[in-house]
Symmetry: C2
Subunit: 457 residues, 2 copies
Amino acid sequence: MERTLIAGLTEHVGKTVSISGWVEVRRDHGKLIFLDIRDRSGVVQAVVMQKEVDAFGTAETLRPQFVVSVEGGVRERPENMQKEGEANGTIEMSLTKIEVLAAAHELPFDMDAELNLDTYLDYLPLALRTQSGRDIFAIQATATEAFRTALRELDFTEFQSPTLTGGDAEGGASAFKVDYYHDKPAFLATSPQFYKQIMVGVYERAFSTPKVFRGEKHATTRHLSEYSSLDFEMGFITDHTDVMAVLEKTIRHMVAQVVERHSDALARCEAEPPRVPSAPFPVLKLAEAQEIIEKEFGGSAVGEPDLEPEHERQICEWALREKESDFIFITHYPVSKRPFYTYEDENDPGFTKSFDLIFRGLEITTGGQRIHDYDMLVGKIKERNLNPEAFSFYLQAFKFGMPPHGGAATGLERFTARMLGLPNIKEATLFPRDMTRVDTRLAQDDGRPAQDGALDR
Amino acid sequence: MERTLIAGLTEHVGKTVSISGWVEVRRDHGKLIFLDIRDRSGVVQAVVMQKEVDAFGTAETLRPQFVVSVEGGVRERPENMQKEGEANGTIEMSLTKIEVLAAAHELPFDMDAELNLDTYLDYLPLALRTQSGRDIFAIQATATEAFRTALRELDFTEFQSPTLTGGDAEGGASAFKVDYYHDKPAFLATSPQFYKQIMVGVYERAFSTPKVFRGEKHATTRHLSEYSSLDFEMGFITDHTDVMAVLEKTIRHMVAQVVERHSDALARCEAEPPRVPSAPFPVLKLAEAQEIIEKEFGGSAVGEPDLEPEHERQICEWALREKESDFIFITHYPVSKRPFYTYEDENDPGFTKSFDLIFRGLEITTGGQRIHDYDMLVGKIKERNLNPEAFSFYLQAFKFGMPPHGGAATGLERFTARMLGLPNIKEATLFPRDMTRVDTRLAQDDGRPAQDGALDR
């Protein structure tokens, strides 16, 4: 019999159908066994009566996460058992046939238990099947696609930014080293920055959603070794505010799509939809933000080259209260705190046409206008005691005519975490990698590294 | 004055507008200078007359790839200069003002010259701006998005597959090693295989478009160190033919979208749209294909465990002639040639429920049904003298209930190359990495490795 999806069962009341899925719960009531069965579309309650001898016998062996294909009639539930407002809350299936497609070992925890983070990560292949696991990464999928859709609407072309790069160009320690061919090293990209600028020369407007990698020795709730970067770059801008306008459009579309398509999941995660002002997102220069922080929250912020995490939370508290916005732009970070290619504001020397977007207390985006003049860019590289020859490939884009341009990079996991109010970025990362873990913990009890991962096909 | 896009100029005949873009060509005709100016939307011819003293003086300094912002009137071309059927072929702009946004050094080659591959790759940031560079990767962007759209329509959920993995699980030499933390190694994913199977447990149907990495010492026209893999995996299948049906739908949508949206580019690349049969794609078992190859083309193929590149070309020649199809499925590769998780056909022992999709002589997709039974899978791992403990993370998905499932992986660059008839896969790869090159050539003349790449932001 052809499979029916569980979400469509209400259209089959009075008929016999086949469904397939995972057993979520078995409840024994003597001559009756109740099963909750889930597939990708939803959950339904199924009843097995003792008189269905074969099915009943099989039902007695079922445990959570058994995979089954079952047949039976779809019927209205007895009136006192109906749960109005719940999907399939007024129907149930009465099973006549149960086929076990795969058995499951006993689970290490209940699927609705609150897990501590290490247990959650140790059992990720199972833990992702919980309602919250499925909710978080369905929302992430929607946000990713909304990012692309918004930019495609604005004439941006997608491109595949490379992961392997020829050098850790700034000489920092943040790029992971790869054993490449002939005993030569390559490095994992810490950002698609150079490539998206090159692509401005090709398509004017380009975006990419690559994985990027940071080898800093961070062990915080906001850092990852590997994350998804939502990057765009655009040519023929007047200044950084053109980039901010495109970013704002994109972020608004991402929020709207998540809210529209996942209101149930947001409610289950007890996450309020973000406050998005009808006016443009509030914008403050770094120095202005620091003055507000000192005035409203005390402490010392003015004159610092960046906002501390605590300051990011405070300025968001202010923005929500005063501007009814969960988002706020901070602009004009000092030249010293931004990469060499950042454009200095001729009207505000020492400060850059750069911005961060802060969302519910966490910086999720960095962006700005970039230098497009070849000679100026080479000069900035030299000022930082870097060797322009190390940048020869990248510099071609500027040698051969580059328009005024800028762009932004948003951390997908950070956006997801703030949408859902998840305190640790790892909860918003599908398979998080950090200093201590790549799937399994890196140091086993016996001190040997754990072995596991993907394989050749 | 606000910028007008070049593609919209025909709506502004008789008016004065501003456009911005790159100078493609300058042609001096004494008292007249002609410029072709390109932006992301198209090209237009502009005329500068000597009497426009300032503009003419600037125009005399322009060279290809200068970035300009210009103003002038839009007008019909003189009748004998009109090129019907060409975009903007009947209009031109008469410039009154030219602002140079960025100068360009003299180009190392004409933008319409045929470049040899090494020159093309050495000058990629410039070479990608050629018409064919822009065409190839615009088509690739469309194909990528069409892959996602087709699967989303079929209820697949996108996920972010990890790049860093804990081990080269099969013990082959094909995974690049990364210096991770604490002197421990990590490895670059050679495929998202394990993760997409895990995601079947979560969403039943999942897809991802990750970068994957192969460290084999190949120097061919079909291998890359880094490529984009279009992966999907689906649960509750009957056998591999369910996977083939979804793949075929996806590929048809990718072809249709490229043909619909890039007919001009295909024509410029002298690429015929692929022949797609109205009947399903032809399907042959490997053994059947080998018999046909021997019978039609001679040589020795029967009994070999795989098709040689030459055989792939021959069977496609046959499929085009006999089945009017540029695509053909080959199924039932021997167990020995497929990974341990491949499902053996109970009706054809020794052979697997696996398939390749061959497109115009090149394998672009590998897929099949996977083993879903935990004990059987552990047995297969042991049979290959691998240690099941090395797979403990992955095996959780099976321990806790996995439906019959399967999936496929398509090489985006291979698909692109065959769509456009490009002989070398590197021409269909935006920033190709191989044994000799990561942007710049790995060994410079002086023997030192080249330094260059992405940087921290």
